[in-house]
């Protein structure tokens, strides 16, 4: 999750302090629509899985806690949540 928080801060230099895990990233445009695919790339890189946009909903990306549950929590033998090695 650290890399995601870092990315969000990089994209939103005006942000002070940590981002609440329940903050609405989409509605507050912390993930700007222009950067949405870059965010998907980042999640794919961290999780090591591809994300099929046909199989997700916007709510899967809405908050940090949802992102962690949906993409970064191992359902099988994937890596533990948290910072992952870069690819």
């Amino acid at each position: 999750m650290e890399r995601i928080a870092e990315w969000l801060h990089e994209k939103n230099p005006g942000l002070d302090g940590p981002i609440d895990v329940d903050e609405d990233l989409i509605e507050a445009r912390l993930i700007d629509s222009m950067d949405f695919l870059e965010f998907i790339d980042l999640l794919e890189e961290i999780s090591g899985d591809t994300i099929d946009l046909q199989e997700v909903t916007i709510d899967d990306f809405r908050t940090l806690s949802r992102v962690e549950r949906r993409f970064l929590t191992p359902s099988g033998a994937a890596a533990a949540p948290g910072p992952a090695t870069t690819g």
Partner: protein, 285 residues
């Protein structure tokens, strides 16, 4: 505003200048003005004062709104003949062959851009601000089709800037108004999520919009979208430093009507322009 049915037109009516360009005859003009007058009902209901937007928009302002990243193909540019061309023009040279210099301005492609740019740096307060305007808008299209797809057309918008919740309520009231008005005019409309006409349809913004639609359109039975409700989140508030008091960057939303398309939908529903006008007058009385 009254029809000029007593005004005789020459045999064959009024010529249209070319694709996407129509000259409206008296009956179509009465429909256009009468429908726009009805559409102002939403502005009145929401206490949105009527304003007139600027006739040209600066490319610098539009660039800050990502206009060219999203819609590079739509922009109709305002050009000016170069000083060197003026003597030739005055001597009767073909204007179509002479060079134009960009003025740094585009004709508007939507009514709300000029209003939003005019609010840069303002604080609209937590109660928010509403404005309404009709403007002639221009879009380069790949094809033109009667009143349905024009190079230049009238777009009425009722714009809101304020809080996130205020934006939601604005669109709810706008959608309710569209349904009521359609009922009054005998129009059968269907509501569906819609895309903006992005140049890059596989790009980031288009993909996010597909997952989280921010635009809904109301369409006539032949598929012509005649009204839309649009939410912008806090995009314009951030880009233009428009604040909603302590709430920070303003959220915005607009209800938009393509007025010529309402004329088209009325004729579609009632058979002829004359019958459409009878129905419109009944609705307004």
């Amino acid at each position: 505003m009254s029809t000029t049915s007593s005004t005789a037109l020459p045999d064959g009516g009024l010529k249209n200048p070319g694709p996407g360009l129509l000259t409206l005859d008296p009956v179509h003009t009465a429909l256009l003005h009468g429908l726009d007058a009805l559409l102002t009902g939403l502005a009145a209901r929401l206490s949105a004062p009527e304003v007139v937007g600027p006739p040209l928009l600066s490319v610098e302002g539009l660039a800050r709104l990502d206009y060219f990243r999203n819609f590079p193909h739509l922009g109709v540019s305002a050009g000016r003949f170069t000083p060197e061309a003026l003597d030739g023009l005055a001597a009767g040279e073909d204007p179509g062959e002479l060079p134009l210099r960009p003025t740094g301005h585009l004709l508007p492609s939507a009514t709300c851009y000029g209003l939003l740019l005019s609010l840069e740096g303002r604080d609209v307060g937590e109660d928010g601000l509403r404005l309404s305007a009709t403007g002639r808008c221009f879009r380069n299209e790949t094809h033109y089709d009667g009143l349905r797809r024009l190079w230049g057309f009238h777009m009425r918008e009722v714009l809101y800037l304020g809080t996130k919740q205020g934006a939601v309520e604005h669109l709810e009231k706008g959608a309710e108004f569209v349904r009521e008005l359609a009922g009054l005019l005998g129009l059968e409309l269907t509501r569906a999520t819609a895309d903006d006409p992005f140049y890059d349809r596989g790009g980031s913004r288009a993909r996010l919009m597909a997952l989280d639609p921010v635009k809904h359109e109301f369409s006539a039975p032949d598929g012509t979208a005649i009204a839309s409700v649009n939410r912008h989140r806090n995009f314009f508030g951030e880009r233009l430093d428009i604040r909603a008091g302590a709430e920070g960057p303003a959220y915005s939303a607009c209800v938009a009507f393509g007025v010529e398309r309402w004329v088209h939908a009325m004729i579609l529903a009632h058979g002829t322009p004359e019958q459409a006008l009878v129905r419109l007058r009944a609705a307004r009385s």
